[in-house]
Subunit: 345 residues, 2 copies
């Protein structure tokens, strides 16, 4: 008599059922899981090659428990610049929104139309808008919506995204997320990362579309902010926008605001070539104790996007010095936008 015979027949059959089905599920999972992982490419819009390989190898390393570079999940923070990193910056999309608002103001006060930077904005001088200085952006940001409840601002931004189109590409701005970067955000999140935007653009502007376009909720957006005051207005309390910048989130201010909002150095940071605006953020990421990855996008594309370089090459020089991974849009991306055909040519 075997040990099994010690159990009544009904129980034996029941245990046999349970064991057989458990075995089946274990075998099924063991067989299926590796196949599906090998078959699905997490970054289909990236060309095969060194850059894509480096990204995947890094994520594999920091998510493998017994690897010396392993990073606990709660430390997996990724920060992304927005303009030129997640969507185009020719022209600055927020600049187009401000232009619409200024046009409304000029309808009331025509003398405004002759002042700079208003003039460039209103005339749609894209080349001038591409070279806005920090103080000009500040002037523009505070020129509209001062002393207004934030609700009015948000409603107008929603309306802008629902109705306006990119002047050259001819599609709504909400279709202009860089498809390879959307895939990268998804890939990082699938590997335990919390993804953040850290942009020189306006925090309230980006928050309106960050979830829809990038899967990033408003509380994970860091950006340039307008000072606000909590005041009583017609019997209710509102957050009123003040005629003052709270924080201009560019260059060396990016690490300061990442510390304020997140409290950790990013494991993964991505920026782009144009003004050197992301050098400090990438330096900050690289300075963390433990593994980290820095990505710098070079706008060298001559077909699907807009080719431009940085006057002093500071970002590319920093990348070469510090070993950051440079993305060539021309060579490394198979496709720039989701609405384009897979083959760019």
């Amino acid at each position: 008599m075997s040990i099994a015979m010690l159990f009544p027949k009904g129980l034996r059959q029941f245990l046999a059922f349970m064991f057989a089905s458990l075995l089946f599920f274990v075998l099924a999972i063991a067989t299926i899981a590796p196949v599906s992982a090998a078959e699905s490419d997490p970054l289909p819009s990236w060309n095969e090659g060194e850059v894509k390989g480096e990204i995947i190898a890094f994520v594999d390393r920091i998510t493998t428990q017994d690897n010396p570079d392993f990073v606990p999940v709660e430390q997996r923070i990724a920060t992304f610049d927005n303009d030129g990193t997640l969507w185009p910056e020719q022209p600055l999309i927020q600049g187009m929104f401000v232009r619409d608002r200024l046009a409304e103001q000029v309808a009331n006060d025509p003398s405004l139309a002759e002042k700079q930077p208003y003039k460039a904005v209103l005339e749609g001088d894209l080349s001038r808008l591409g070279r806005l200085t920090g103080s000009e952006v500040t002037a523009l940001l505070t020129a509209v919506y001062t002393d207004t409840d934030g609700g009015k601002y948000e409603a107008d931004v929603r309306d802008f995204f629902a109705t306006e189109k990119h002047p050259i590409l001819g599609v709504p701005y909400t279709e202009l997320a860089y498809q390879p970067m959307v895939e990268l955000l998804d890939y990082l999140r699938a590997n335990g990362f919390q993804t953040w935007i850290c942009s020189g653009g306006g925090i309230d502007f980006i928050r309106v579309i960050s979830q829809q376009m990038y899967g990033i909720p408003p509380q994970q957006v860091i950006g340039t902010s307008i000072a606000k005051a909590f005041i009583e207005q017609d019997g209710t309390f509102v957050l009123q926008r003040q005629p003052k910048i709270g924080s201009f989130n560019d260059k060396a201010v990016k690490p300061v605001n990442i510390d304020l909002h997140i409290g950790r150095r990013p494991v993964f940071a991505a920026g782009n070539v144009k003004s050197g605006g992301d050098i400090a953020m990438l330096t900050y990421s690289q300075g963390r104790a433990g593994a980290s990855f820095q990505l710098l996008i070079n706008h060298d594309d001559r077909s699907g996007e807009f080719a431009y370089q940085e006057p002093d090459n500071a970002s590319l020089n920093a990348a070469a010095t510090h070993g950051w991974t440079v993305v060539s849009i021309q060579d490394n991306w198979q496709q720039v936008f989701a609405f384009q055909d897979k083959s760019k040519s």
Copy 2:
């Protein structure tokens, strides 16, 4: 011949195994789940009664899809004050940390010991420390760690929590989370809420223990901040603490910083009676479009905690006017700290 006979015997047996075990699991889950839900009290340290009932009824309402008060999960933001709401503020725990650091400074410069508020801090004048003004807190916050890399500060805070004990309760500060509030945080998270701290205390101080004590990660802590600068120091870039407050997160500044960090009005907000510091945050929460809940803790306990009131009663008056839920520690909490016996008396 039954339909089953159309299949070979081996397959029939296998399907029988699968079906039997599937049925077993379905029945098991169907039997067990309602029982465990009915039996488990999400707020065991709260006495049965109106306050506990209101909290549970609110959460039921906003999580029920076809209820008019339903709140989509991405909007379920809860903000909690810290001192006096999640842990005791007699004395201010951060005040005790600063006292230790000042004692080190006085060892180098004895003249400091005669200046206020240093004097009160160094003499451990608990009553005086309980009445620190905003500008005194500012002076204390900037008196230590100016021009220091944040890493040194964090290490000292960790050491403080690992070694120091509450002067009256005699246990480490990390054991002083209010047990009913820890349960409330867990309960809200289990119902899809993202829980945040919004405190007048220092953001860098609270972040060291927020995960361990409250299950709140550093990026969900809002607090008073020191200005920082990203600068090169001995060949590496560090975030250096500046002799200036970035933001003093109290009263009307709390809604401004909630907007900056989260970008949404909280559905649930909790503060406490002492200085009126949370009135603005609770007002802000109540002003959201849609359902919301405001909780105000009244320190009327005469056994397990510290009884104190607000000089002008502004917080309790606001609660009465606006219909906020007032928690009496004496009446509504069965237990204040986890280390205490279940029955307080």
